[in-house]
């Protein structure tokens, strides 16, 4: 079995457990407040880390390239409250353009 298939199986089972835990087990009860606070914050740390790693990461190296231009453009598009699709398109276009002229 390939690594990808093992990851797929583990994530399928694990994600199923995480998604159905609330509706199946907790029902209308809520988590302890301190636990809830940490759970609420986890996505922020992880999404920020993914943003950085996918922008400048290349295996175990930090590589600054046209992706960074795309991220800056994405940031300014979000600042202007442009829709999700537009943000992705302009970020990709800016990165492609940077590669074209450099």
């Amino acid at each position: 079995m390939s690594d990808s298939t093992i990851v797929l199986i583990v994530m399928t089972v694990g994600t199923f457990a995480l998604k159905s835990a609330g509706p199946l087990v907790l029902g209308d009860r809520s988590l302890p407040r301190r636990v809830q606070q940490v759970v609420d914050l986890l996505p922020a740390a992880l999404l920020a880390a993914l943003t950085i790693v996918s922008t400048v990461g290349d295996g175990r190296e930090i590589v600054i390239d046209a992706r960074l231009v795309g991220l800056v453009v994405a940031g300014s598009a979000l600042w202007r409250r442009l829709p999700f699709v537009v943000v992705i398109v302009v970020a990709s276009a800016a990165t492609a353009l940077t590669r074209l002229i450099s």
Binding site: A45, L46, A49, G57, V87, I88
Partner: protein, 241 residues
């Protein structure tokens, strides 16, 4: 009278869901392409989109696998990104009533988009309706675009860089993160998490910097005592712009 109200409410939910479902399409194409680039077969890519069904977690796992990361780091990073489903489940539980197998089946549609549309409604039955409409719509589009991305871009890594699609992932992560940044504890967590990840890239195998970034939640503790992140539960409803 009630029928009229219901029709208006239903149309409003359809509009909300439609824009969110459309926004998912390019993301699905990018995922399909990323999966192909990372060496996943079409069946494996569809497996992730249909069985795991969680955008950022799929990207994280595939990105780590493509970088040559270990099975454990890919699976753990992917699952950690879905830990927020625990909170989603708590929010949606009252609306997802039914027999246990119905609850289990409906909870598979639990993603940022379905929670966003569902939690935006005020009544329980409309929360359920919004959640299901957005969830089913995104599921169909997400899987179709995964196939399209994988088939159209398979083995064409140059095309991805030529079109700048390698910046679409970072842009999408930033877009998903963006609405959270208006809350101070979330912002602190994000900044510290990003710094931890950045510093660790050269020193740890792929995936580990993303796991280590979790420690960024400690940063939220340095806020003012009255600055409680409990509102973040409500913010979850608006995490898609």
């Amino acid at each position: 009278m009630n029928d009229l109200d219901d029709a208006v409410r239903r149309r409003a939910i359809h509009r909300q869901a439609a824009s969110i479902i459309a926004a998912v399409a390019p993301f699905g194409i990018v995922f399909g392409a990323a999966a192909a680039t990372a060496g996943l077969s079409l069946l494996q890519a569809i497996g992730f989109s249909a069985l795991v069904f969680g955008g950022s977690s799929q990207f994280a796992a595939v990105e780590i696998l493509g970088d040559g990361g270990s099975v454990a780091s890919a699976a753990i990073a992917g699952l950690l990104l879905n830990v927020r489903s625990l909170a989603f489940g708590v929010i949606m539980a009252p609306a997802l009533f039914g027999a246990w197998w119905q609850r289990a089946a409906m909870s598979q549609l639990m993603i940022d988009e379905s929670i966003a549309v569902g939690a935006a409604q005020s009544e329980r039955r409309w929360r359920r309706y919004g959640y299901l409409v957005a969830g089913i719509g995104v599921f169909v589009v997400w899987n179709l675009t995964t196939i399209l991305g994988h088939v159209a871009f398979a083995g064409a890594g140059d095309l991805i860089t030529d079109l700048g699609l390698d910046a679409a992932g970072p842009a999408a992560f930033l877009a998903l993160l963006w609405p959270r940044l208006s809350s101070a504890p979330q912002r602190r967590t994000a900044i510290v998490g990003a710094l931890i990840a950045l510093v660790m890239i050269p020193f740890a195998p792929p995936g580990v910097p993303i796991l280590a970034a979790m420690l960024g939640v400690v940063a939220a503790r340095f806020g003012k005592p009255d600055e409680q992140p409990s509102d973040a539960l409500i913010d979850e409803s608006g995490i898609i712009p």
